[in-house]
Symmetry: C2
Subunit: 396 residues, 2 copies
DNA sequence: CTTGTTTGTCTACTGAATAAACAAAGTTTA
DNA sequence: TAAACTTTGTTTATTCAGTAGACAAACAAG
């Protein structure tokens, strides 16, 4: 329980909190009876009954048939009505667009992916509209319809929703949120891709029920999403998690950020590709995909490239562990696909360097959601927002 | 307002929250009338009146004489009764013990300092008892007496209050909390020195009213205390903030932690002293104090040593800023005394390397509380705890 | 002296949670 | 099969905290 609030406490707050608690309980333990809900929440049976009837009226839950008796009257089972509304989540990558339509539980109902190369903002915007239109039409009729649109971008997003800088897209100061909200008339969330991915993993992936999770989004560069004390930490202006530009070599390679020795120059896809180009029998156009294939075919040189990157990933992970003492570190985004080659050197670097008590209760994982964590994460943001707002507008 | 709670909401919670809100308002704006309190909190006048009368009964506040009228009946001014109890805060350094006695507002009422070299745990414990006894006797009679004892130690403390490892003291697995609680029969908090310092600075120092503060405790080594989203982040087991062992040179100097290139090898007191020993006309026993003196006397070589350390401090600060996007970074502990020589190289390293939007709204400070932040911080922990517990035990 | 304002208390009311009674719908036991 | 016990979910009376508004006391200004 946290009492970090600077506003008045009154019974409306109490009711809202309890209603949310009941809904959450039903969501997580569906199908569940009123009596069992009362037990789990600690609320009085009568209170639960009255809150449940409100939730039924709002169509957020529904009654299914009677359940099995445990020696008395058979309970009426309650189901979370995950189809009461839908959420759209978009992951804007450097060379692809991924859109998902999820229900309120985060299940993917439909998805659409498009690839491209070298498009301008205006051109991407057209494709973005297409995908959103498609997903909107794909949503079945429901009481609440599309409850929101979330967008994850590979760049820094201010707390006001403005995309300040997305270097790999060459975007600068773009207020996509306003554009989308005007066009679609629903709440829009714009979020950094790593933050969204971290949230996606916490809700649906490897990080379920954990409080302190560090999600390392390793693609061309490295961004990091921080789940601390159970919630996303975004920093003062929303720019936290730029661990890709953490110095790991004081006089190292020059980075375009103006600094030297940044982690992502050694441990991200860009390192792999530029090192591959230097190989004596280098592939013409090295990509993560064809390098993976070469490694699978047993190319020792390429395997060593992966191992080197894995080792450097371990260096950064070591820093992360010393800094945050997390419960879990998740490697996500494109580089996660090379788990097979990266995992061992990464782990061995870490085990040798981190103190024993830091490694206690620590999990190192590769993303379970593969390429979907960001899209699912932003979609979940909208759903969360919807509940926060909806539970306030009570049926009067 | 945060609704991150998994327990029932009932009117007791409401009352407790509002009572705490009223007390906080009176604490921060004393002297203040009931009417003004009602205005500031948004609570009803009657509600404030009733909560105030309870707080009066508990002697946590008191009524002073009538204030000046603003065109009507003169208000009765309320004062926070900071002398209703006292708190003891102890900073266990590598070669000193500092104990402070504070009132409930955090004002220092008495303090005692002792220096020593190379004492065992048992020997230090004797001195520790002496200081606590002295401060206990120094506390004037008050309704609540000593409300708690806080201890800051230069090492890792588990969430259960056990000191796992304090390398510079050569302590290992010491359960000081149990010892002190048994002896003094009051709540005891053991906390890492950097965490305590961070909290001290937030409450009483440079970081007042800020939400995201990184406190860099630079002494022999470097520890970091993290105030994120307004509260101390301690990590999964309480071992966060070991930024001293963040790698900044992949193949750098060997550290006793088993790793190479740790930040504290380059940017802490140990770097300064070992570099000083290599100077052609090195002082016999280089210490921070006599090196400072040499620098003040214009010794170019020594000044350059400080500048080098300042530069390396900047490297780590750059990482901190990229990782956390904080509102404020505070350099504290012994090295803060060399502000004069460290500040410029540190700032210039940072300005050149950090992106413009990271530097927006960012303050770099040296500690205002000088050597007192840790002791004040742990003392404040006890006070906070006292209020949390006390407001629950209502006058029935 | 009158009028208007501010302060703080008091009373009646509201809304939410709770405890306990109760009816309905089962199961278990003799 | 009937009586006794259990579980579920609703209903009723009660408690408790906050609110609105009336009110008296204390003061300022014309």
């Amino acid at each position: 329980m946290k009492l970090t609030m600077n506003q008045t406490w009154n019974q409306h707050v109490v009711k809202k909190g309890n209603k949310s608690l009941v809904l959450e309980t039903i969501k997580d333990h569906s199908p569940i009876s009123r009596a069992e809900t009362a037990n789990r929440t600690g609320l009085n049976k009568g209170t639960v009954s009255s809150l449940v009837s409100e939730l039924l009226e709002e169509q957020l839950i529904s009654e299914s048939g009677p359940g099995v008796s445990s020696g008395g009257r058979r309970p009426v089972m309650l189901l979370f009505n995950q189809l009461a509304g839908y959420s759209i989540g978009i992951d804007i990558g450097v060379n692809y667009l991924l859109g998902v339509l999820t229900d309120l539980q985060g299940n993917i109902c439909d998805e659409k992916r498009e690839s491209y190369t070298d498009l301008t903002y205006e051109e991407i915007k057209v494709k973005l509209f297409d995908i959103i239109d498609y997903l909107t039409n794909a949503a079945p009729p429901s009481p609440y319809g599309i409850v929101g649109i979330g967008v994850g971008v590979p760049g820094t997003v201010s707390n006001t929703g403005e995309i300040l800088l997305a270097p790999n897209l060459e975007w600068k100061n773009i207020h996509l949120q306003a554009v989308l909200e005007r066009k679609y008339q629903v709440p829009v969330v714009i979020e950094n891709e790593a933050n969204a991915g971290a949230y996606g993993e916490k809700r649906f992936g490897a990080g379920k029920d954990l409080e302190d999770i560090i999600y390392v989004s390793a693609g061309i560069g490295i961004g990091v999403g921080l789940i601390l004390n159970g919630s996303l930490y975004k920093g003062n202006n929303g720019f936290s998690g730029e661990l890709g530009h953490m110095t790991i070599e004081v006089d190292g390679k020059k980075c375009r950020c103006g600094n030297k020795g940044c982690w992502e120059l050694y441990a991200a896809e860009q390192a792999l590709l530029s090192n591959a180009a230097k190989l004596p029998d280098a592939p013409d156009q090295p990509t993560l995909e064809n390098l993976s294939k070469l490694a699978d075919d047993g190319d020792e040189q390429v395997i060593r490239l992966f191992e080197q990157v894995g080792d450097y990933l371990g260096v950064g992970l070591n820093n992360i562990i010393n800094i945050f003492n997390p419960q879990q570190v998740i490697i996500g985004n494109r580089m996660a696909s090379a788990k097979k080659w990266l995992r061992d050197p990464l782990i061995s670097r870490m085990v040798n360097q981190t103190l024993w008590f830091q490694q206690k209760d620590l999990q190192i994982q590769f993303s379970e959601l593969s390429t979907h964590s960001t899209a699912l994460g932003v979609a979940a943001f909208s759903v969360e927002n919807f509940f926060k707002v909806d539970l306030q507008n009570q049926v009067v």
